[in-house]
Amino acid sequence: MTTAAAAETAPKPEPREAKDESPAKESLASRVGRYAGGGAVRAFLVIVAFLWLTPTVGLLLSSFRDPADIATTGWWKVFGDPGQLTTDTYDTLFGNEDVMGALPTTVWITVPSTLLVVVIGALAGYAFAWMDFPGRDWVFLAVVCLLVVPVQVALIPVASLYRDLNLFHTITGVVLFHTAFGLPFAIFLLRNFFAEIPRELLEAARIDGAGELRLFFRVVMPLGGPAIAALGIFQFLWVWNDMLVALVFADPGKPPLTVAVQQQTRQFDSNIELIASGAFISMIIPLVVFFAFQRQFVSGVMAGAVK
């Protein structure tokens, strides 16, 4: 069917003749080739999918094994001996103040950082899209430049700044840092999305007497829903998963989950059972968010292809 359509659109008669000459032979050969090729493709993809899943499954199974078993054999041994599976490691983990106390810290860092980035980014994005002020395009260009600035550049200066402001080793400091480095992307994404809002909608609201704030909260924010969702998911995962910023700015005595687990790996007598189960706990929220908001996450990642 498709070949017929293609032949119809072919401007010259030669391809059609060539096709008419050997239709049976062509299609048979290509069909055989397609089946064989399709089988190989499927087999290849199955192997890749298996390879990709194995490390995560390995961590999951390891986290459900006895520390003594982890120390001597690989996680795949549970397939021969399912009796090895135990929830002991999680009992240990839940009883471990260092790791469990880190969970609220992670939440207290992640949620405010996400909200602040969305709100501040939306305000600025709206200003860049629909408000008039001198030098607007140049300022926006500067924001685009900041998209790729590595956080490493700011670690040393902000550490000394925070020491002066008594923000070093505080949750507030970590939140502000994450917000600042999330803003360029937020502004970039939301400005471009807001700029697509039909002018007539804004004009209608304006004629109805809406003020600037009303316009922003009642028209622009609701219409920006998809972009705000994508940004929120993206920023949430970014901050939840961060280790470097927390390592530098968070209180080492009360760190978020990533740093807490990392501290376990650096201990002299590292507790493999705590590390495996702790790492898995730190993955659960991101995985749930990922599976629940896949589309938003993917579009956030695609929009952020410059970060």
């Binding site: 498709t2 002020f133 600042a180 004629i207 687990v261 990392q262 292809a305």
Partner: protein, 464 residues
């Protein structure tokens, strides 16, 4: 991103002081002048919308850039101006040189591998019905932290093949293609006629002749390892070849004479026996289930040798996190995380490949590879460039994965700039902020070309 700054004429909300005539060619300014904003606002109001963002970006992004550049020109104490010494120092320090070299490897290898795999996956998943499920599996690691990925791969790379999945798989493959040694660790008694270094080969002192039985006793095999073997048999008699036996010259429970096949002693099957004359192997045989072997008559007068391959210790796999493999090993973990990113972006780009063109090429006899090479890849080129560049910036700053996977003792071998910066400025008891700042400025300089690339891309898109 369809509209953006740069070409103010085409941006969605033009400045109120635009010339009244539209600058969009062929599009006259309409009667109501729709390009003029009704949403006009005073600049002072805009200030309030921008203020929080400007304060945060200024204090925590812009000011630090300036401070880092400034600080990088001063020494450890921060009091003495040293010019570019901190920068030249980067190239003198071995650790930092390793970090620079590793960062170069990272930037050259990791993005290319991710993009290539992403391209392959994106093209192939189009052909299967469960493509979406596959994409989900490959994309999933993007959602988890580098810490979790690091822990996952520390488990994968554990050295012991009994525990590390990578070595378990690798030794299995290795042993499939080269048979493992039948009797690792077995050796002759010191007083025996067989001599050689501890790991083999063992060569007999005397030559053998046709009709004489050749007894080759070995020890140092655990009794439980031979439990399932047959009792050793005396060398067969007769024939014009050389008959012999290799066995474990140890009688459980004691008794038995050395260098004699006693009842209760076990055979060592599967051992290769070589007859050597003047340094040349003239014949060889392998012991049977009862430990006996027969060499052809050509071996008459030769010395017998048991090659070392009979006794090699079991293959222990690869030291993934050793000095030479540590960076490739961590890069593999990165590819596991980010190939999905490349795949998803490229798959989205594939939607723009003109199907009619591909069909037409197929009708004209092009095979799948030619279609891929001549149509798909050229059309995707801009997407591939964006993916590559994005991954390059990402890789330049790589920190968590290296810091978690590489054991502290090996950190020097797997070092990268971001880790070195952290070590210099935050990990030690006496931080070197001068060197640390210099490293951070180098990182910034390395992303400058990308900044320019982004601006140009933005201008091009808004210029449409």
């Amino acid at each position: 991103m369809s509209t953006s700054s740069g070409g103010a004429a085409d941006s969605a909300a033009p400045a109120p002081f635009d010339p009244p005539v539209s600058t969009v060619p062929g599009k006259p300014a309409g009667p109501g002048r729709p390009r003029r904003s009704v949403v006009r606002t005073s600049p002072s109001l805009a200030v309030w919308f921008l203020l929080p963002a400007v304060v945060l970006l200024g204090a925590l992004v812009l000011y630090p850039i300036g401070y880092s550049v400034y600080r990088s020109l001063f020494d450890v104490s921060g009091d003495d101006f040293v010019g570019l010494d901190n920068y030249t120092g980067l190239f003198r320090d071995d650790r930092i040189r390793t970090a620079l070299r590793n960062n170069l490897i990272w930037v050259l290898v990791a993005p290319a591998v991710c993009t290539a795999l992403g391209l392959i996956f994106a093209v192939l998943t189009e052909k299967v019905r469960w493509g979406t499920a596959f994409k989900m599996v490959v994309f999933m690691p993007m959602a988890i932290s580098m810490l979790a990925a690091g822990v996952i791969f520390s488990l994968v790379y554990q050295n012991d093949p009994e525990r590390g999945a990578a070595n378990a798989a690798w030794t299995t493959i290795h042993d499939t293609f080269s048979d493992p040694a039948p009797w690792p660790g077995a050796r002759p008694r010191p007083a025996s006629d067989l001599k050689g270094p501890a790991e083999g080969p063992f060569t007999s002192g005397a030559t053998v002749g046709a009709g004489q039985p050749a007894l080759l006793p070995l020890v140092a095999v655990k009794p439980q390892d031979v439990a399932g073997e047959q009792p050793a048999a005396e060398p067969r008699a007769g024939g014009d070849g050389i008959n012999g036996t290799v066995w474990l010259d140890f009688k459980p429970g004691g008794g038995g004479a050395p260098d004699a096949v006693d009842s209760g002693e076990k055979a060592l099957p599967g051992i290769k026996v070589e007859a050597v004359k003047g340094g040349e192997v003239v014949a060889s045989a392998t012991t049977a289930a009862d430990g006996t072997f027969t060499l052809p008559a050509a071996a008459d007068g030769a010395k017998l040798r048991l090659p070392a391959s009979n006794f090699a210790e079991a293959y222990g796999g690869v030291d993934w996190l050793g000095p030479s493999l540590v960076t490739p090993a961590v890069i593999a973990a990165y590819v596991w995380m980010w190939a999905g990113f490349a795949m998803v972006l490229i798959a989205a780009g594939l939607a723009s490949v003109p199907r009619e063109l591909m069909e037409a090429a197929r009708v004209d006899g092009a095979n799948e590879w030619q279609v891929f090479r001549r149509i798909t890849v050229p059309v995707l080129a801009p997407v591939l460039a964006v993916v590559l560049v994005t991954l390059m910036i990402n890789v330049l700053k790589i920190f968590d994965l290296v810091y978690i996977i590489v054991p502290s003792a090996r950190l020097e071998d797997g070092n990268v700039l971001a880790v070195e910066l952290f070590q210099q400025a935050f990990a030690g008891s006496d931080p070197d902020l001068g060197t640390g700042s210099a490293i951070s400025v180098v990182l910034l300089l390395l992303v400058l070309p990308v900044m320019i690339f982004n601006i140009r891309r933005l201008r091009k898109e808004s210029g449409r």
